[in-house]
């Protein structure tokens, strides 16, 4: 704390913050309490964070709440952010997905009701998952990679990631054992990883 006070005497204009700074530079400045840097990071990342939250939660107000939670956590934990643990974008998108999924599970009762009412018919079928991908995935590269999965792998991955279903919910909806769903999720992601050339 003493170190921070010395480096950063309460003014935000001492260090230059530009829209050309890398995400990691911005985070380093956020760690010193630089609100201008945070503001640039917000402008850069909020459409991605909000876009993903909306895709999962749909409801605008709740998606904004998740967006707010994510950015407050980014601010609070900025001094502990370690670039070696993964990029800023990955960190924030993972956090967003986690919080959006938590939000969905928190309203589990209505979620279960939705499943019974007919999400199964309109969104769970292999064909409809394919059209979901067509509608919501903008990146041609990711679309192409998803098309290399088996239909069952793609169905499981899409339901888990874009609908926020747990493996247990998927297993109940598709009437297959949870172990089978876990295997599809894993094999599907491994295939995607290889198609997209993701390395740790």
């Amino acid at each position: 704390m003493v170190i921070h006070a010395a480096l950063y005497p309460g003014e935000s204009g001492t260090m230059r913050t530009s829209s050309e700074s890398s995400d990691e530079e911005l985070m380093a400045r956020c760690a010193l309490g630089d609100r201008d840097a945070f503001s640039v990071l917000y402008a850069r990342m909020s459409p991605r964070v909000f876009g993903l939250a909306r895709r999962l939660i749909i409801d605008v107000a709740q998606s904004e709440e998740v967006t707010q939670e994510v950015f407050l956590e980014v601010w609070q934990t900025a001094p502990r952010y370690d670039p070696a643990k993964g990029g800023v974008v990955s960190w924030m998108m993972t956090m967003t997905h986690r919080r959006a999924v938590d939000r969905i599970r928190a309203s589990q009762a209505s979620h279960n009701r939705d499943l019974k009412i007919g999400v199964r018919d309109t969104e769970l079928s292999v064909d409809d998952v394919a059209s979901t991908v067509e509608t919501i995935v903008e990146s041609e590269r990711v679309k192409a990679a998803l098309s290399r999965l088996t239909a069952l792998q793609r169905q499981a991955v899409v339901l888990a990631y874009f609908k926020g279903l747990s493996h247990r919910e998927i297993s109940e909806a598709l009437k297959v054992p949870t172990g089978t769903v876990k295997t599809r999720l894993r094999d599907g992601l491994i295939r995607l990883r290889d198609e997209l050339g993701v390395t740790a």
């Binding site: 876009g51 904004e64 900025a78 747990s166």
Partner: protein, 240 residues
């Protein structure tokens, strides 16, 4: 890999990366992960793959009001102090492993988050002795493992609103540093409860009065102590 637990561990990486596991499963997975290097690496890679799915979604601009509200909020939101790990062990652990370790210590981070808050330095034990606490009708005792090795025991009495700790097999905090005690109240605010003297050997009384439901925490601070915690606790003992 012959038993079911191991098989399940291997099979869980996809569900973990997609946040499709229950909290109980996630905890069990992370604690069973241990040194399973292959599963750790796979989890990191599959999580990064899931991020690619997230980035493929159409971006959407949130309302200007939300941005203004968030910028207002951070102006009054305190930041966590940096952790020891970040500053002192940047190159010792392989990158992949450290990334999973980050997930493993999420629970610790929550404890640390609870520590940030309004701090009021107190400096008296109210003349209470360890004997008085130990002999109180509602005296309770618990121990916790210290992250750097050793054990800390705590004895407390809600009726007396007092507590004491004893370190067993805990090393010195290091040159120019000291162990500092804290009461962390249920609302998350931390109050300094004094310093642990060098070579205590016996029970150390905490300063101030213990609010019901508080946790006792110990951090390493610069000599002389800090008005508020500046590091992740090395031990936390809940009293409720």
């Amino acid at each position: 890999v012959s038993d079911n637990r191991d098989l399940d561990l291997e099979n869980m990486t996809g569900a973990m990366a997609l946040h499709a596991a229950s909290p109980e499963e996630a905890r069990a997975f992370l604690s069973a992960l241990g040194d399973a290097e292959q599963a750790r690496n796979e989890l990191v890679e599959l999580s990064d793959t899931a991020v690619q799915l997230g980035l493929s979604v159409r971006e959407e601009q949130p309302s200007a009001e939300l941005g203004a509200r968030i910028l207002d909020l951070i102006a009054t939101t305190p930041q966590l102090p940096p952790t020891h790990d970040v500053r002192h062990e940047p190159h010792r652990v392989p990158r992949r492993r450290r990334r999973v370790t980050a997930a493993l210590v999420a629970a610790v981070a929550l404890v640390a988050a609870a520590i940030v808050g309004v701090v009021v330095v107190q400096s008296n034990t109210g003349g209470m002795s360890y004997q008085q606490i130990a002999q109180a009708a509602d005296a309770q005792q618990a121990k916790a493992t210290v992250t750097d090795g050793g054990t800390v025991m705590a004895t407390w009495s809600d009726d007396l609103a007092a507590s004491a700790v004893k370190l067993l097999g805990v090393g010195e905090p290091g040159e120019g540093r000291t162990y500092e005690l804290w009461y962390v109240s249920p609302d998350g605010s931390a109050t300094s409860a004094g310093l642990i003297p060098t070579h205590p050997g016996d029970w150390v009384m905490l300063d101030g009065s213990m609010e019901h439901g508080s946790a006792i925490a110990i951090t390493i601070e610069p000599s002389g102590g800090s008005a508020q915690p500046t590091s992740t606790p090395i031990a936390v003992i809940p009293t409720a």
